[in-house]
């Protein structure tokens, strides 16, 4: 028995390599029965009771994910004054910005991303990407206007590169704070709002892609109604010193179980959400990745971001290849790296694939040459020398359940 592809290329059985970092909740995961693997430079839980059970639990109840490996960054403005934080503060806190200062930082950040950040209102977040000069995606990320800072959550695997990229390109008067003294938990699923509201009553009145700073036992938690599963849910930034206490408070609820990386991957695949390093990389543009929605109208007209020539050219004229969803005939999973054919002609490659528990069949994401990207195109995938029938299909595979309005 030997694996020839793990759930992620970079996920390997945990050999206890010393340079691999421990998450703040490492012992907590192990105590709750996690099987740990190395991912993004951390020992991370790939599963607790099993991927299928955890996947279904998240679709039906509320799953608790530890995503503290992700990079939590905060941008503020150095206005030249000597800002002194509160005496006795546990960790450095950035000086809160005025709305005008937030707009100045947002404007500077727009040089690196194709989204409308200046137009991002206080208390709102938006999906975006860092691009290189060729329009390739360096990372995909979430940008939040907290009201007093511009916050960015980036992928753990490339967070150090992202920090270097920001430091290289942002003006010197912008202060980049890596909030490595905060953990990040995601609570996802139809019972997430009910569960979280027991600890943070205001959370229930938030809507999708809204951000608030909410008080829990005297600690300011950064809460957004967002996630990576397609379900309603929240992502909660929590000071490391109370992270375990908060996780325990959630896990004590009947609706909540801990969920590992394995189900996170199958959930996001069903939701049609790309995974950086697999479905997105530095030689793939947002247009090829079918992420044109993240390029704001004003930015299309004005440009002014790294890679704008390439990206806006493709926006107008189309790209030579495109990310698509695939439905797979039969039960054999078609995984990352499988070539796609039209007859004998190779026309694309699978970038993510596997068994989709909520669909009850294998599904995949792939890049195909533009003429083959129309929905319903019949192709074949090659798996171990066999040709498997696949059909380009709409994504998401499982409908998103985002809460865009609340009755409260």
């Amino acid at each position: 028995m030997s694996d020839h592809n793990q759930i992620q290329d970079e996920a390997t059985e945990d050999a206890g390599t010393p340079e691999v970092l421990a998450l703040p909740l490492d012992a907590w995961h192990r105590a709750h029965g996690a099987r740990m693997v190395e991912f993004a430079g951390y020992h991370m839980p790939i599963q607790f009771e099993g991927i299928m059970a955890e996947h279904s639990w998240t679709r039906e109840q509320a799953g608790l994910f530890d995503v503290s490996h992700m990079g939590q960054l905060s941008l503020t403005l150095d206005d030249g004054s000597d800002y002194v934080q509160d005496e006795g503060a546990e960790a450095p806190t950035a000086k809160p910005m005025t709305a005008e200062e937030v707009a100045e930082v947002a404007k500077a950040l727009e040089a690196l991303v194709p989204g409308d950040i200046v137009g991002l209102k206080a208390g709102r977040m938006r999906y975006s990407m860092f691009l290189n000069e060729e329009g390739g995606i360096l990372d995909d990320l979430m940008i939040t206007n907290s009201g007093t800072s511009i916050d960015i959550v980036v992928n753990g695997a490339v967070k150090w590169e992202d920090i270097g990229h920001l430091r290289e390109y942002l003006p010197d008067n912008i202060v980049l704070n890596h909030k490595d003294d905060f953990g990040l938990l995601a609570l996802q699923g139809p019972k997430a709002a009910t569960a979280l509201a027991r600890l943070l009553p205001d959370a229930a009145t938030m809507v999708f892609m809204e951000y608030r700073s909410l008080n829990w036992q005297g600690h300011a938690l950064g809460v957004s109604r967002s996630g990576y599963t397609g379900e309603d849910g929240f992502e909660i930034s929590i000071p490391t010193d109370v992270l375990e206490e908060f996780a325990d408070a959630l896990l004590a609820m009947d609706e909540v179980k801990p969920i590992g990386l394995g189900a996170r991957d199958s959930l996001r695949l069903e939701a049609g959400l790309p995974l950086y390093g697999h479905d997105l990389d530095e030689v793939t543009t947002p247009i090829e990745a079918d992420l044109g929605f993240a390029i704001a109208k004003r930015r299309r007209e004005e440009g002014g971001f790294l890679g704008d020539d390439v990206v806006l050219g493709q926006y107008a004229n189309g790209a030579a290849r495109k990310r698509v969803g695939l439905r797979v005939d039969g039960k054999l999973p078609v995984r990352e790296g499988a070539p796609l054919f039209d007859g004998d002609q190779e026309v694309g490659t699978v970038t993510s694939g596997g068994f989709a528990p909520s669909v009850g069949a294998p599904i995949a994401m792939a890049y195909v040459a533009a003429p083959y990207a129309d929905l319903g195109t019949a192709l074949t995938a090659e798996v171990r020398g066999k040709r498997i029938a696949v059909t380009t299909a709409p994504i998401p595979f499982v409908p998103h359940k985002y809460v865009r309005k609340t009755g409260a």
């Binding site: 028995m1 030997s2 694996d3 020839h4 592809n5 793990q6 759930i7 790939i46 599963q47 099993g50 991927i51 299928m52 996947h55 394995g262 991957d265 199958s266 039960k331 054999l332 999973p333 995984r335 596997g354 068994f355 528990p357 294998p362 171990r384």
Partner: protein, 123 residues
Amino acid sequence: MARYFTEEHEWLDVDGDTVTVGITDFAQGQLGDIVFVELPAVGLDLTQGGDAAVVESVKAASDIYAPVDGTVSEANDALDADPALANSDPEGEGWFFRMSLGDASQLGGLMDAAAYKNFCDNL
């Protein structure tokens, strides 16, 4: 009938010159939820240590190797309809395939149940 185990976490029952092969309970636990088992075709000649089957779990595809030399005589069709049998009853109804015993001397290099348990305990 004697049961042997490999370091690749397969079990084999030897009954005369017929060998039944499957994966161990330890193996299924490591693999997690099994969603597909690709079994060898009847008549295929296998070589000890060579590829014999592929197990697809939710998280990964894993190779299953031939524990001895021989020719495939039967594949467990029940796994086509219900791949999860390899999780629920790996050392019984979830067997993978049957093959001939091409070289009985190869059995001498395999483990018995006690040795295999010791092997797993030390992983």
